[in-house]
Every structure is written in C-alpha cells, then in structure tokens.
Point group: none
Chain length 274, copies 2
C-alpha cells in the first residue's frame, strides 16, 4: 500500500527541503516522490545531506512540468491547504486521509497523491481545484506555516499508522484462520504473580513492618490497605514479587539481628567473639 502513495511537491525552492521530505518519506516507508516545476536543483550537497541516507528517493524523484502530468494515474488527489479558501472544498484531517487509504488503494493499480505547495505561497487556487479534497494539518493559528518536510512528516506518519493498522487486521484474520485449523501456542511473557503469591507477600510485608517497628496492628491507620493499593496497581510479575520478598527477608534479618544485638549484653549471640 505505502509504495502506491505519491508525495508531490510543487515549485519547491530549497534543495534542503527536498532532502528533508525524502528522509521523512523513507522513515515512514513511502518511496514515490514527484517534483513539479521545482525552482531549485533537486540534487545538491544540501538536499543529499538533509536526506541523511534517503538519497535514493531524491535521485529517483520524477520531475514534471505540471501537476496534471504528475498525478495523471492517481485516483485520489489530496492537496495540503490552509483552512479557509474562498471556494469551500471537501476538507479532510490528516487522520481521515490515513484511514481512507486502505479502501482507496485496495486495487493494485490504484495510486493516491498527496500534494504540497511552495514554501512561500502554498498551492494556487487553480492547483487546489484540481484536487479531490484538501487536507489541513491543525496548527497554532498564530504560527501556522509548517516547514515543508514537517508537513510531509505528519501526513506520512498518518499513512504509516493506517498501513500498520491494516497489517494488524490482516494478521489477526490469518491467526483466526490458523486457529480454526491448528492448536494454539501460548505467547511467551513474564507470568504475573498470582493472588496467592500476592497474599503471601502482603503477610510477609506486614510481619516485617511490625518487626521494624513501623506498623502496629492495634492502630493500623489503613497502612496495609494503602500498601496493597499501590502494589496491586503495578500488577507485579512473579519475578518482581520474588525480589520484593527478598528485600523483606533481608530486612527481617537486619531487624532480627537488632533484637539479638540488644540481647548481647546478657546472652552470647552467634558470630560474637565475646
């Protein structure tokens, strides 16, 4: 699907922006770049540097003289535009463009074009009227002019999200079909602690808090309830619970040694040379 989405740049004047667009496209898995009447060389040190490894897209860009020529094989043409125009046109959000792509591109021969205008003046009215719909990236009204590569980045990102969602759906469909035929294999994941393990932990915790003098069951002040809540909220894995119990044992040992240490004056404790 992604290889049949064409990014069309009209009248670009900065080579760096062409490189930046190529990088944004390649990052999102798009490959088809078309330049209409560029006002600068496409292949310069600056464009290749900004492409940062996506220079194959710059080298492979198709250059044409007119928008008509660049989008002649496309069944849907969407132009990037500011919101208000004299003649109202069907408007889409970037997300709506993304979600429409799987249907638009279900036939192998179909192509979609996303058209971006000049850095200084955008698309002309004549160009906008050659589009099926306009897409507006929501921006701060006080500072609405996006960098060209940034605008392509946002649209390309929405294209990729839509494609990933489609892949997920296909995978799920396949899995359901396979499950109907074969027995399932369980996913590998760290097992969560069971209810019983958690209860053992809380009992151990309470004993330890009593041993270190932090908790008095006679005046509980909701202490154990609060500790239960914060612990349960994190859904501990079994392995994590084992670490926490290890800490409790080490604490008990320390507290136990205190008790014995206090006894030292009269009795003879273990590990003492006395």
């Amino acid at each position: 699907m992604l290889e049949r989405i064409r990014i069309v740049l009209i009248g670009t004047s900065h080579p760096g922006n062409i490189g930046g667009v190529a990088r944004a496209m390649h990052n999102m898995g798009l490959t088809d770049l078309a330049l209409v009447a560029p006002r600068c060389d496409a292949i310069t040190a600056d464009s290749i540097s900004r492409a940062s490894g996506a220079d194959s897209l710059v080298h492979g860009a198709h250059i044409s003289a007119s928008l008509e020529e660049a989008v002649s094989d496309c069944s849907l043409v969407v132009g990037a535009s500011a919101r208000s125009r004299t003649l109202p046109w069907p408007m889409m959000t970037p997300r709506e463009v993304g979600s429409r792509l799987p249907t638009e591109l279900q036939h192998q021969a179909s192509r979609v074009a996303l058209v971006f205008g000049r850095e200084d003046s955008g698309l002309s009215n004549a160009e906008l009227q050659r589009c099926h719909a306009h897409v507006h990236i929501p921006t701060n009204p006080d500072f609405s002019s996006l960098n060209l590569a940034a605008a392509v980045q946002v649209l390309a990102y929405e294209c990729r999200l839509s494609w990933l969602e489609q892949q997920d759906q296909l995978e799920q469909q396949n899995r359901l079909e396979q499950q109907a035929q074969a027995p399932d294999t369980t996913e590998e994941q760290q097992p969560l602690a069971t209810h019983e393990e958690l209860e053992h932990y809380f009992a151990h915790l309470e004993r330890t808090l009593i041993a270190i003098g932090f908790h008095d069951p006679a005046t509980p002040r909701q202490l154990m309830a609060r500790l239960r809540r914060v612990t349960l909220r994190s859904r501990p894995e079994r392995m994590e619970l084992n670490i926490l119990r290890g800490i409790l044992s080490a604490t008990e040992k320390a507290a136990g040694q205190v008790a014995m240490g206090q006894r030292t004056s009269d009795d003879i404790p273990p590990n003492s040379d006395a």
Copy 2:
C-alpha cells in the same frame, strides 16, 4: 494544557535541529523547551533561520546540566526510544501519549516532559530508566532514524490533536451544562509524586538496600532497574511515596541499630563473618 508540556532535548549537537524543534513546537502550540547539556550553541544563525519565526522559543529555552534538573517538577516523563531494549519498559505509541495528556495535566501545577536523545545515539539506558514510559514512533525498520525536529513534530502533533479534542469536549460539556444550569463538583484526587520525589525515593531505597546487605552496587544485577520499573508502573501518589519512605527510614534505623549493637560488643562491622 499545551503550555505545560515540556520538550526536553538531551545532548543536541546541531543548532539547526534546535531551531527546527522550536518551529515544530510553536506550530503545534507548545512553548516550553529545555536543553540538557547541549553539545552546541543554541543561538546561532542556523538555529534562528530554521526556527523561521519561532526564535522566541530558542531564546527562552531553559538550559540545564542534567535530565533530573530539567524534569524535576514533572509528574510524567516519557522518553523517545527505539522499540527493543534489554529490560522491557512500558511502551506507548505517540497517540497513546496524546490521549493520556488531558488526565495527566488536569491539575494546573502538573507538568509532562517528552524527552528526546542525541542525534547520533539517542537516550542512554540510564536516561531511559528515569522515564515512566517510552514512546516509539513507528518507522520503517530499514530506515528508522528520524530527524530530531521530525520526531518532535510527530509528538507535538499528537499533543495538539489531543488538546483540540479536549477543547471540543469542554465546549460540548459547557453547552450541556448551560442547558442544565447545574454546577457540578469535580472529584478531588491525590497529587502524584513528581520526578524529583521519585528520584529521592530511589536514592533512599538504594541506600537502604545496601545497608541491609541486599544490594551490592559492584554487582547490581539490574536490581535498581527492576525496582524502578515496578514502582513507576504504579504511578505512586505523593502520600503513598511518603509511606514507602517511612518504611525505608524504619528499616535503616533497624539496620543502624544492628551496626551499633554489634559495635558495642566488638567493633565488628555489619555483614562480616569475622
């Protein structure tokens, strides 16, 4: 809401990227830019040119020496990361980050940080482990390194979409309330612990674990990372964190008394077989 989302750039080395980030932020209505240990000057001809009118953000950027300092007042810290890391961490999509913001930022004092790493090497593991969650922008696996300003653009775009949706909902709610003419009472909620409070807790935890002989910094075995993960997952409230710190102090006291108890007998250090 948008003014309380901080974009944090760590170790940026190209001034142009700082300018590009400022432009992307301002386009989406974000204003709070923080630079941690930048490896270049923030204010250069290149950064101002790429900011393209958003230079007030570059001039107003807060520069600090450490990530801790930059995010100390933030209750949610999300680090931009590639997908796979040795220790799995809660992962969010950019869309999930956006949709979580209205809840995270409902208190006027709360702040959220989105943290971006170096152009060449991203965020270090230590930096990633200081984040509550990681966000991964879905990219072409064969060409996954986004330009820094492009990555900020995508996240800032999701922030704006979420804010716009919230504005829509508020408007709708206001309309409904005006119709019903009944003042509602909002539910009171406990404030979450800030990043700084959490870091103090983790430092206290580590000291205590050393004191009770459970942790040896020389052979850390990812212990602190695992404890960070399970703790951060529960998003502790400030009050809950106070309880946990109380437990640590009581434990330290117990362990300290051991040391003292043993010292009274024979000057034997804790955990010694002598």
